[in-house]
Each structure stands twice: as C-alpha cells, then as structure tokens.
C-alpha cells in the first residue's frame, strides 16, 4: 500500500502523459538481459523468453508485468513463468503465478500479465525468469489462396524488440522457421539470417514500450489443424468405466485451396502436390484404453490404427479425405477407460475424477473446447479444480433410464493448445446405493409384467358363465 501511495505522489509530481503504473514500474524494475526465441515451425507459435530482472527501486517488488501488443493478446493461448534459481547444471525451476491484469491507460491497448515473484524482489536483487507464451492463429497465409501444387507461405508479425513496460538493457530475438525458405523479413539492424534462424539484435538499452514491427514471410507446410469446436463428454459410471466421447469439427486453417483438386497428382506426385495439406492425425489417448471408435455422422471411418502402451495409447487416424486449406471435416472419437485409473476418494470422503484437460490431438489448436463431465445419477455438490480459468456451468442430462437426471459439469475454454493438457479434478459426493436404482427399477418392471400376465391368465373376463 505504501508503494501505491508513493506512486500516486510521483504521478502527481511528474504529471507526464505516460501512464502512472507504467512510469512507476519502469522506475522500479529493469530488465538487464532479455532473450527471446520464437518457434515458428508449426502453426502454434511458441515463444521462450528469458528475462533477467533487476530491482532498481528502493522498495521490494512483489510482482512484475509482462506486456503484449493488442494483436497478440487475443491470440495468446497461454503464459507461463518460471523463476530460475541456482547456477548451471543445478538449476531449479520454480513455477510462478501468472494472472492477466488490467492496467489503466495502457498505451495502444496493450495487454498485461502479472507475474508474482515467489519472494518479493528486494532492492538491487536480480532474478531470472523463464517465460513461455503460446500464440495461436498468428501465422497469416500469404498468398491467401494457393493451388494444389503450391506450397504455403505465411506472414508472422511481431516486434524485433520485446514489448515491456520496463527498460531493457540488452536483448536478442530469434525466429526459428520450419524450413530454410524465407521469402523476406524486415530488417532492423542488426538482423541476420542463418539457415532456419533469423536473429534480431542484440539491441542495447531500449526504453519502455519500445516497439519495432517486423514481418517474416516464410514457408510453413506443417499441418494447420484447427479444431473449430471440440465437445468432450466424460461419462462416469460407477460400474467400472469412464466413457469418453469427443466431437470434433476440424478445419485446415492455412491458405485456402483454390481451383482443382486432382487425385492423380495427389497420388502420384505426393512430394510436390498438396504439400500443405494433411491427411493423418495423431491422438494421444490414455493407457488401458478400450472400445475405441472413430466415426462421423454417416458411419465408421475405416482408416485408423491404435497402439496401446503403458504410458499412453496412440490413435493414428485419417479423416475421410485429405484436408486442403479451408476444407472441413467432422468426426467423433470415443473410447472407454477403466474407472480405477481416474476416480479416487478424497480424504474428506468425497470422490474426485482426475482427468486430462485439453484436446488429445497433437499439435492442434482448439478454438472452443467444451468439456462435459457427466456425474452418475444422484451425485451432489460438484466442483471443478483447474490450474487456469475456464467458464463453468452445470447442466442436467438424462441417459439410460434416468429419473432425476445426471449432473453435468460443463467446463468451457477458448483457444486451447496442447500445453493445456494438464490434469484437472472434479469433486462430488455420491452414495453407492444409487447404483442399484436402475437394476431395481428393471427388476420391478419385469416383476410387474409377470404379475399382470399371471393375473390376466387367471381372470375370466367373460360375461356369460359357461
């Protein structure tokens, strides 16, 4: 609180057009060294940022801000930060709390994430942070439409210098492209390209909110598999299994296919024809998976292979047809896993499901993920625990012979990347006696039928006695 007051004091005193917090933070912290490696090899852009932060203020700093340009903030799928302590070889990584944060008067609508240090950074101290952030939909195909024989070129727009509310003493940025074919890149001296890598920097002593827009135009034929919508339904049966049904709406998010699709070219000249298209996908499923099916709404799709293992199972499958840019496909994957691997009893007597969030397909972006956990009939007090923010909702679903319906915990998240495949928990209370409700119902129904037929046989409905 004291720091706040001080900030206000400075703000009033200086009264410049820069925003308050920006100014104050810049006063507080500075980044001694920043190194950024941006991996452009797939359509999920991963940026690894190593920051060496120093507190040059007088008070200890509890947190720091990461700034992102507005074009990136909406495509930002995930930000993670680790504090590195210890010297080489004996490095210890400590995960830090990262929260999106609103800053008043942020220049040009920049977005912020607030990283809280494990222990407040005292004056004069430095800390090394490893930040990972993941961008989706950030590779813009250009040309927008390509024919079957062309390969796919994309733009990536970013800044040569790290956008930061703090002064950065020294920084370097590396872009890693998937192939050596780079059409062009903006030159911000010093910048050079060697093989698959483009290096910007080192730049010395850049002021807060420095920005140097660059565009990299390069070839990227990796599969741009985008799941527009994925609905995963996890149905818990206390009779011993977990039934998972996944509805996919897949699209090729790259440059749109233009004109002819020639099968003869696709089949005979595979290397140059349709290089940006893809027709094989890989789903990583839990171990001990069984009853796997792969179909769409008009029937089975027969092109799939399942390899089960101890650590994981892999389902290799093909959509009905190869996906070219802009083509869509829908399909359903369903499987069953044994209950004991995923359902546990908490110390307080409640039960909890421990399952993996996210999408099982590798290297895929999910625009909208809806995860439904269908609890058994009679469950109460459901609550979900996740390491990141999602929309939560409760629904009721009626399945086989239900009377009161099953509680469904609906978790919904946009812009999901494979990094989101982390365990989450759903806690609920359940009395095992409810398991017997449906068998008893069936038994009594059959009993009733037999009693009625018995009665019918023995009742003489004739009016005239013979």
């Amino acid at each position: 609180m004291a720091a706040r007051n001080w900030i206000f004091a400075v703000a009033v005193a200086v009264a410049v057009f820069l925003s308050l917090s920006t100014f104050s933070s810049a006063q507080d912290l500075q980044i001694v060294n920043a190194e950024r490696r941006i991996d452009l090899s797939s359509h999920i852009v991963k940026a690894f940022l190593t920051l060496k932060v120093e507190n040059i203020g007088k008070d200890p700093a509890a947190d720091m801000l990461l700034a992102f340009p507005p074009t990136q903030i909406k495509n930002l799928a995930m930000v993670q930060a680790l504090a590195v302590t210890g010297k080489k070889k004996k490095k210890i990584y400590l995960p830090l709390d990262v929260k999106p944060s609103e800053q008043p008067d942020a220049p040009n609508d920049a977005g912020y994430f607030l990283v809280s240090f494990a222990t407040p950074l005292g004056p004069g101290e430095t800390v090394t942070l490893e930040v990972l952030y993941i961008l989706t939909h950030s590779l813009e195909p250009f040309p927008v439409e390509i024919t079957q024989s062309e390969s796919q070129l994309v733009y990536y727009r970013d800044s040569a210098v790290v956008l930061s509310p703090y002064r950065i003493k020294q920084q370097t940025t590396f872009f890693k492209t998937p192939s050596t074919r780079v059409e062009s890149f903006t030159s911000v001296e010093p910048a050079n390209r060697a093989g698959k890598e483009i290096k910007y920097g080192p730049y010395e002593d850049r002021a807060p909110y420095s920005y140097a827009p660059v565009i990299v135009h390069f070839e990227n034929n990796s599969p741009f598999a985008v799941v527009e919508e994925l609905v995963r339904e996890i149905e818990i049966s206390h009779w011993g299994s977990l039934q998972i049904t996944e509805n996919y709406r897949l699209t090729h998010g790259g440059a749109r296919h233009k004109g002819v699709f020639s099968r003869v070219e696709y089949q005979s000249r595979r290397s140059i024809s349709g290089s940006s298209s893809f027709n094989a996908l890989l789903a990583v499923l839990p171990p001990r998976v069984n009853s796997v099916y792969y179909r769409d709404n008009i029937g089975n799709i027969s092109t799939s292979h399942l390899r089960t293992g101890f650590k994981k199972s892999e389902l290799e499958f093909e959509p009905r047809y190869p996906l070219f840019g802009g083509w869509k496909a829908t399909f359903i994957i369903g499987y069953r896993v044994p209950l004991e691997d995923y359902l546990f009893e908490a110390p307080d007597g409640r039960r909890y499901l421990n399952f993996t969030f996210g999408c099982p397909l590798v290297e895929t972006i999910v625009n909208k993920l809806t995860l439904k956990v269908v609890l058994p009939e009679g469950s109460k007090d459901p609550s979900a625990v996740l390491p990141f923010a999602v929309n939560q909702d409760l629904q009721v679903k009626y399945s086989y012979l239900d009377i009161v319906g099953r509680t469904v915990v609906v978790l919904q998240k946009d812009n999901v990347v494979p990094t989101h495949n982390v365990p989450f928990q759903v806690y609920y209370t359940f009395k095992p006696i409810y398991m017997l409700a449906e068998p008893l119902m069936l038994v009594s129904a059959f009993f009733f039928v037999f009693v009625t037929s018995l009665a019918y046989v023995h009742i003489d409905l004739n009016i005239v006695k013979k």
């Binding site: 005979s268 008009i298 029937g299 089975n300 799709i301 009905r320 047809y321 496909a329 086989y400 046989v457």
Partner: protein
C-alpha cells in the same frame, strides 16, 4: 401369446400348460433367431443404413423425429428434384417412418437415448421377429400350431426376406411383410371365428399395411379373389361375409386417410376387384337369405326374376366402372401394376421401370437362392392343404399360387412369395413329421408288445406338440361347422379337441408306414432342414449383408475397405455451399440428400420422367451442350461414379445406356444407335465418336490415362478409346481415394469479350497485381 388353458382335468391342463409354455419358448427363440441372423451386417460391417432407398427413409425419419408429425405431413422438400421439389408428406408411404419414429420417441421418453440411426438400423430385424410370430399365428389358424412353429422357424431365416430386412436395410418392406402376414392372419382368424372384433382388427392391420407399402394392392386383390373362390365353390357362410364386408368398407375408408393413397383407394383399377366382389357377396348373401325364407318353388321364380334384373344391374355397374376407369386421374392402371399383368410391358414402354434391376423377372437360380429347399416342399404343402380343404387352407393355396405368378414377373416380389412358401413348407414339414413319428410310434408299440387302444392313446399323449398339431388340424374343419354356435376362443377349443383325438387315431391306422422307411424319411427331412439352415446362414452372412455404400475386398494383406461413397458425400457436405445443387444419375439422389445434405436434381423416387431424361440427356451430350443443360438447372457440381480403376462394376458407364434410352425417350435428338458400334456397347478405340465425346465418358475418364499410362479400364477389361483430352466447361474438384466417385464443378460462364480479350485480360491481371501490392506491406 399367453393363452390360458381351459379349466379342465388337471392332467390335460398340465399338458396344455406345458405345451403352451414350450411353444411360447420356441416362439421366443424363433424371434431371437430372426433378429440375430440379420445382425451379420452390423457385425461384419457396421451399424449403418444400407443402399439407396433406406437413406431416404432415414432422412424422413430424422425430419419426423426433429419436427414432429404435423410438420412431417406438410413437409415440402426443396432439397430434391430441383427446381420442382417434392411434397414428401403426400407422396411417401408413412408406415415405416412413423413406426421407427414412434419407437424412437418411446425409447427417448423413458430416457433410453438411442439415436434415430440406431432405431432405423434395427427396425427391420425387430419386425422380422414380429413377422415370424405372425406367420406362426397364420399357419396355426390353417393347420395347427405344429405347422405354425415350423413355418415361423422357416420364415425367420428365409433368404428372400433376409435380403430385404438385414439390420440397416431400412425399407418399407421391412415392416410391410409383417403387416401383410398379420393382415392375412386376421382375415383367416375372422373367417374361422366369424368375430366382428377380429374383422375390425383386420381392417386396422390392413390400414397399417396401406401405410407401409404399395404392395397393399396384393392384399386387396387376393382377399376378394379368395372370397370369390369360396362363393364359387359353394363355401359361402356368414363368417365369410363378416371377414370380407367390414374389411372393404373400413379398410377403404382407412386407406383413403393415407395421403399417398387418398382417393386412389376408390378411383384406381387396382381396387375395383374388391368392390366388385363386395357387390357379389351382398347379392349372394341376399340370395341365401331369400332362399332361407322362400319355398323352393318360389325361390326358382325369384331366381329367374333376379337374374334378369341382376344382369341389367351388372351391365350398368360394368358401364359405370368402365367410365370410372376411363375418367380416373391416374388413367386406370399404374405402370408398375401393368407390368405385373404383362411382364413385357415395362421394357416396352417405360425404360425407367425396366432400368431398375429389381423390377426384372427373376432367373431360376434366384428361386433356389432365395427360397432354397422351400421350393421343393411347397408342392407337398399344397397337397397337405387339400386334405382336408378348409376356408383357411384354400386361402393359403390361393396365396401361394398368386405370389408364384407375381414373383415370376418381378424379382422384388419374391418377397411376397417367401411367406407363402414358408407357410406351405411349414405345413408340409409338420404333416410329414406327424405321419412319420406316428407310424414309428405305432410300429414300435406293435413290435414291443401288442398294446391295446388305450395305451396307444396314452403314448400319443406323451408327445404334446405332435398331438395338438394334428388335433388342431381336424379342429379346422370341425370348428368350421361348430363355430357359429360358439363365442369366444377359449370355449371352442376343448370340445373340438376331444373328438379329434379319436378321429386322428382312426386316421393314423390308415397312414402307417414301415418303421425303416419312416426313420429314413425322418432323417432325410432333418437333413433337408439342416441344408436349409446352412444355406440361410450363408446367405445372411455372405450374400445379403453388404451395405453397398462401403465395399470390401479380401486381398493378401488383409481386408481392404472401399469407402469412397461416404468419402465424397462427406466432402460435399463439408466443403461446398449449403445451397449448391449437385447433379448425378438418379441412383445417387437419395444418398446425396441424406449424407451430403445437398440439393439434387433427380433422385430414386423417379416420379418425373422428363426431369430424369433431362439429366440423362446432359450426361449423353457433348460437354458444351451438357454444360448448358446443367447451368440452366443451376447445377454447381456434377457427380459421377466410376469403377474403372478398381473394377467396381455397377458404375455410371455401365448404366450409361439407360441414361441414353431414358434421355432419348423424351429428347429425340439423343439416339441409342449413336452410342453403339454395330449394336455393341463399347468404350475402347472402336467406340463411336458420340460416345467418346459425351459428358459421361469425359467425366469418367478425365486424366485416367495418367494412372497407369494406358488407361486400362478394369470393369470393361479394355483400354479406353480416348485417352488425352481436356475439359473446357468442367473442372475436377474432388476424386475419391479409389476414384469411385468423381465430382466436377461447372466452370463459370466466360465474359463476353471479343477482340480486345487479350488486352483486357492483361489489364485486369495487372490491376490485380497492384491491388495485391497495396496489401503487401513490403513495398
């Protein structure tokens, strides 16, 4: 099924109860058999809708389950027959869809969340079980429950019926055969009991049949024929009147409620036979009544009077009928019915009916394939029906005779023959077993120690099934006499049973065969049955289970699946605009609307010959003319099925002559002779230029030569005639993995620019460049 044993002595009650339970159990097993033998398609392939028409029914059921019954009646489908559309509610037999829709609704009402597809897939097997139970009831009415069980077991696995009712074969016949047999059962039941209750049920069952299938005309012609037969052979009775008159009145009223039938129920010639017989039976009833109240002398006078007046009336009626036929909107008989009466009618006049393979006359091997050993048992069954001939047995004899004729006309109607053949064979088998087991028993009893009558009587009692079946055989005729005085089925059985036992023993004395002959004959019969079972299982597993939208082939490295149809339908459904129109030959219309959800020009409903001829003409025309036809129909995509790469024989090139014929039937500039070289249909270098330049040829073989360098067609087993050519008005947009389905897009019309075309083109392209440059931030 649960029939209460009549209160009687405890031992016979026990025996009856045991027999009832045993036959109920057997019936249950027969139902399970009928259901499960049809699951081969699900196990070998998948739970999927089969073939062509079932996809339409499935789509209608989806609509029904989504929008409800009122929307269904009013459904105008604009996804088909573009630009005409089709009134689905008024042109479809709703029985099947309403049945499946009701099942789906009921299941979901008790929270069993089965999908519409699952319900549709399993409707046919479920109704096959019902049909075999109905067969039991019908045959039981004719020749007792032994014959009934045998017939039910035979029907449960008769290949002809299996071919139309495997899981996934969601077609009208699936429920219609059950409705047919059940209607016949209720007719016979009414005939045997004279109960108005059954007569009403009969009309309702007939209504269900009318809802389900166009084949209801078989019922409404067969029953009048039987009534006429009974009258002519002097078997008229009040029971016959009760069985027939309410059926015609109620049945016709109910039939007219079905939109697709409507006033056809009184206007078309298919129904006139029933009205004629309706008049006749009233005249006969009147005559019998008058005969009853007049003295013989007076009666003679009355007859001469009535006959002279009656002739006049008949003439008037005939004149009215003729006038009605001439003025009826459908012009008397419909094409399909006419082709029933004159087998050559269709091939002569209506190529669209003749082009469907299931409307062709069957070959002899198909009889063996479809009804197998039943073909040999049927004559024996007919003979058994004549000893003794009752109203009921005369009906089944008439049924088999008529259905044999109709199955000879159209291979599809083999389906109507199958139940009749099963009933006859069931009767034959049961009677033969009766005779053989009885003579074995008699011979054993005589050789071991000379037993007297009483002991012989008890020994027959040990075989309840045998006993009751032959007992009821006699019951048929005996009850026929006693029936009028009795009401309620429970009472009439017992008095009928008791004398029959004695009469049976008396008869058995006559029918004794030598022991060895009986045993050998029994074994041979069992072998025959075993052969039938093996054949049926083979037919169900191998011949009739393929869903035809997915093909498989067994190669060295395992099973190979050809799923090209669904591949392309899925592609169409996901990657074209929702309102795009797809043109293809009509065979693929239903599948395209159901699986790809795209508007089609023609489909399997074939109600508009001109429209189909237009598509046929386009397919047979050269590229430019075809483009113009398709463009005038708003077509965006053209779909052709091509089997030349993998050797799939039923592709469009093989169907092409029908397109030419149907097209030429309406548009005379298409001449079949232009496509034939010396009367032979060929696609190699000897083919006519018209053939080599028509759209179908070009779309099928476009760039085909690049696959193997020669263009060898594996279906026609020849190299194609024209190998390297370009398409000017169409472009290939999709070809499935095995080239079975090829989809082309109509190129947009070129701008009408003359002379300066090149210059302008340059200009526009540079204009495009500058536009792109503006967007390009690098400059």
């Amino acid at each position: 099924m649960a029939m209460s044993p009549p209160p009687g002595t405890s031992s016979s009650a026990m025996r009856n109860a045991f027999g009832t339970v045993l036959s109920a159990l057997i019936l249950l097993l027969i139902g399970v058999l009928a259901f499960s033998i049809r699951l081969f398609s699900v196990i070998k392939y998948e739970s999927v809708i089969h073939e062509f028409d079932p996809y339409f029914n499935y789509r209608v059921t989806q609509f029904l389950s989504k929008n409800g019954i009122y929307e269904f009646w009013n459904w105008f489908d604009d996804r088909t027959w573009y630009p005409l559309g089709r009134v689905i509610g008024g042109t479809v037999y709703p029985g099947l869809t309403l049945t499946a829709g009701t099942i789906w609704w009921a299941l979901n009402a008790i929270n069993i969340p089965l999908s519409v597809e699952t319900v549709c897939v399993f409707t046919a097997p479920v109704f096959s079980a019902f049909a075999s139970w109905a067969t039991y009831l019908l045959t039981k009415e004719v020749k007792g429950s032994g014959a009934g069980l045998a017939a039910a077991a035979l029907l449960a696995m008769v290949p002809s019926y299996i071919s139309r009712s495997v899981a996934g074969s969601y077609d009208n016949e699936a429920v219609a055969i059950f409705a047919l047999i059940f209607t016949f059962y209720l007719y016979i039941k009414t005939l045997n009991t004279g109960s108005l209750f059954y007569a009403t049920l009969n009309a309702i069952a007939y209504f269900y049949m009318v809802c389900s299938w166009g084949g209801y005309t078989f019922i409404i012609n067969l029953i009048p024929m039987h009534v006429l037969l009974c009258i002519v052979t002097g078997r008229y009775s009040p029971r016959l009147y009760i069985a027939y008159a309410p059926l015609v009145v109620l049945g016709t009223l109910l039939a007219a409620l079905v939109p697709v039938v409507g006033f056809n129920a009184v206007l078309t010639s298919e129904h006139f036979a029933s009205f004629l017989v309706f008049i006749i039976i009233h005249v006969v009833a009147l005559v019998y009544y008058i005969k009853g109240i007049l003295s013989p002398k007076m009666f003679k006078v009355a007859v001469t009077l009535v006959v002279s007046i009656g002739l006049v009336v008949c003439l008037i009626v005939v004149a009215v009928l003729v006038a009605l036929v001439a003025s009826s909107p459908t012009g008397g008989w419909s094409g399909r019915s006419l082709s029933l009466l004159d087998p050559t009618y269709a091939s002569k006049y209506i190529p669209i009916i003749a082009s469907v393979s299931e409307h062709q006359p069957p070959t002899w091997p198909s009889y063996f394939m479809d009804i197998n050993v039943l073909a040999f048992l049927v004559p024996a069954g007919i003979i058994a029906c004549f000893s003794p001939l009752s109203d009921a047995s005369s009906f089944v004899v008439l049924y088999i005779v008529m259905s044999v004729y109709f199955s000879g006309v159209m291979v599809r109607l083999m389906l109507v023959l199958a139940p009749a053949a099963c009933i006859m064979s069931g009767i034959a088998l049961s009677q033969a077993f009766d005779v053989f087991t009885a003579s074995i028993k008699y011979q054993l009893g005589r050789s071991a120690n000379s037993k007297d009558d009483a002991e012989d009587n008890t020994s027959t009692n040990n075989a309840p099934k045998d006993d009751s079946s032959s007992g009821k055989t006699d019951k048929g005729e005996e009850v026929a006499k006693e029936r009028s005085s009795k009401k309620g089925k429970k009472k009439e059985r017992e008095p009928a049973d008791k004398p029959s036992v004695k009469s049976k023993i008396a008869k058995k004395r006559v029918l004794v065969l030598p022991l060895e002959a009986s045993i050998v004959a029994l074994l041979l019969l069992i072998m025959l049955g075993a052969f039938y079972v093996i054949h049926c299982v083979w037919a169900a597993a191998e011949a009739y289970s393929a869903p035809s939208i997915v093909l498989t082939s067994q190669s060295r490295d395992g099973l190979h699946v050809f799923d090209d149809f669904r591949e392309s339908y899925a592609w169409l459904s996901h990657n074209t605009d929702v309102d795009d129109k797809v043109a293809s030959w009509w065979d693929y219309g239903y599948q395209t609307t159901a699986m790809a959800n795209r508007t089609v020009i023609v489909d399997n409903n074939t109600w508009n010959n001109t429209h189909i001829a237009t598509v046929g003409t386009a397919m047979s025309s050269p590229e430019k003319a075809a483009w113009e036809i398709f463009n005038s129909l708003d077509v965006k995509y053209v779909l052709v099925v091509f089997g030349g790469l993998i050797g799939y024989p039923s592709d469009d090139i093989n169907k092409f002559l029908w397109m030419v014929r149907i097209g030429g039937g309406v548009f005379p500039h298409i001449k079949e002779a232009d496509y034939l070289r010396d009367g032979n249909y060929r696609i190699d270098s000897e083919a006519t230029p018209t053939m080599l330049n028509c759209l179908m040829y070009k779309l099928s073989y476009y760039r085909f030569v690049e696959t193997d360098g020669k263009g060898y067609d594996r279906v026609r087993r020849t190299e194609i005639g024209k190998k390297n050519f370009k398409l000017t008005h169409f472009e290939e947009v999709f070809t499935s993995h095995h080239w079975m389905v090829r989809i082309y897009k109509l190129k947009p019309q070129k701008n009408r620019i003359r002379g300066r075309a090149k210059k302008l083109k340059l200009k526009t392209s540079s204009g495009l460049d500058s536009k792109a440059a503006k967007k390009n931030p690098w400059i």
